[in-house]
Amino acid sequence: MNTTQWTPDQPIVSMRDVHKSFGNLEVLKGISLDVRKGEVICIIGPSGSGKSTLIRCINALNDIQGGSIKVEGQEVHDKNLDKLELRQKVGMVFQQYNLFPHKTALENVMMAPVKVLKEPKDEVQERALKLLKKVRLDGKEHSYPGELSGGQQQRVAIARSLAMRPDIMLFDEVTAALDPETVKEVLITIKELAQEGMTCILVTHEMGFAREIADHIYFTDRGVIVEHGPPSTFFKNATDPRTQEFLSQIL
């Protein structure tokens, strides 16, 4: 058990020498990073470099084999951890939206606060309607996911996560499955969120977006963080040859 109380001046997420394997395949080979409250972190890198695995470890969707991950001072991979508390603190948005197809947009947003946090229904509904409005989906409250475009579904997914009032949001390649037209509407939503001070950790291939929004960029390759820095220096002065090669292919 951790005895020291977490205070907001300490990193909100702190990873130390995290190792993760799927069977014999080691996907994360000693990842360390710190995220401070209100920061926006972008993780970039080639496919298969462990980016998604990395953020999925933060809310314990994946377990780890070594090292430590702390969210607000609490060890995530402690056996006695209250997962509900962790997952209420850490929201997550997925590449494939993963909405509940049998529920309307509004119901999708309301479900977790009502069922998991046992909050009163009318209170949650009011909040859910506000959130849907915020992601510019007013008028679509009663549509089912199957009736919405990819971009709209993804914004419902964002609202659904926000309904739990998380302190941290994880975005796992949330625009990768969208067509270029709708990418923008999702990115605007994330940007607004970041500007309001939400701590965001994004795995993304949108370099322009990362450059614009991120406070700090991490480049991962083959399970290690090769290089990191604020966007201003990262994109101009990448020193590692692997980073340079990756950026030259993309920019």
């Binding site: 809310n59 969707l61 997962k83 509900l84 997952r87 209420q88 929201g91 997550m92 997925f94 494939q96 993963n98 909405l99 509940f100 197809p101 049998h102 479900m111 977790a112 069922k115 998991v116 946090l117 549509s143 089912y144 996911p145 199957g146 009736e147 919405l148 997914a157 659904r160 996560s161 739990m164």
Partner: protein, 252 residues
Amino acid sequence: MLDLFIEFFRQLAEDYPRWNFVFFHDERQWNRLLSGFYYTVWLSVACLIFSVVIGVAGAWLQGSPSRLVRSVVQGYIQFFRNTPPFVQLLFFYFALGQFTPTITAADGWTVEPIISNVGWAIVSLSFFAGAFNVEIFRAGIEAVPESTKEAASSLGFSRLQTYTEVVLPLAFRVCLPALNNNLVNLVKTTTQAIGIAVPELLYQCVGIWNDYPSALYPTMLVLFLLFILLVGVLVYSMHRWERAMRIPGYGG
């Protein structure tokens, strides 16, 4: 009107002795047929409900982290799926029935087993159909994408909440056609309860044609028609249910 109906069948039986619809002109036989029909309906509904409950619970236990629980469920399925339901029925009633406690009946001197033959029929048929239902629900559950379940757990849903709120509602929609088939079979299998003297439709019909050999063909005919009716109602309501559960923009 009713008199005309009764008179018609009485006359028919006189003119054509092989076509004695005895239950249409003899009230006692009519009551027998009716009570058999009620029993069959009651047996079917009870077994339907229990077998679905067993199916849902079994499919949930199949996903249990405990290997012991999983193998118990697997053993249950193997036993009930791979042995004849009629033998199961006899086994439950004659073998297990011996070991259940008895109670003194209302008349004060007869001793009755705590589970009657009807009780055993319900237990045995529900477990039989339930074994198939577990497999049917499992197929539906496996059709729910892992990513959807992951989204639920990322929102703090427990395993049970994910199952009841997300997995089951989706799985149900996938497995309704297969469930439909099995439940139709179950309704028809209730006739095997005749083997332990449950006074259901077949039992009463056999009674009627034993007492009135001239009513053999008509009774069989009515027996078929009543089952077609019963299964028809079931299939119709299952289809209505299927349609009501259809989600706009999802699946077919």
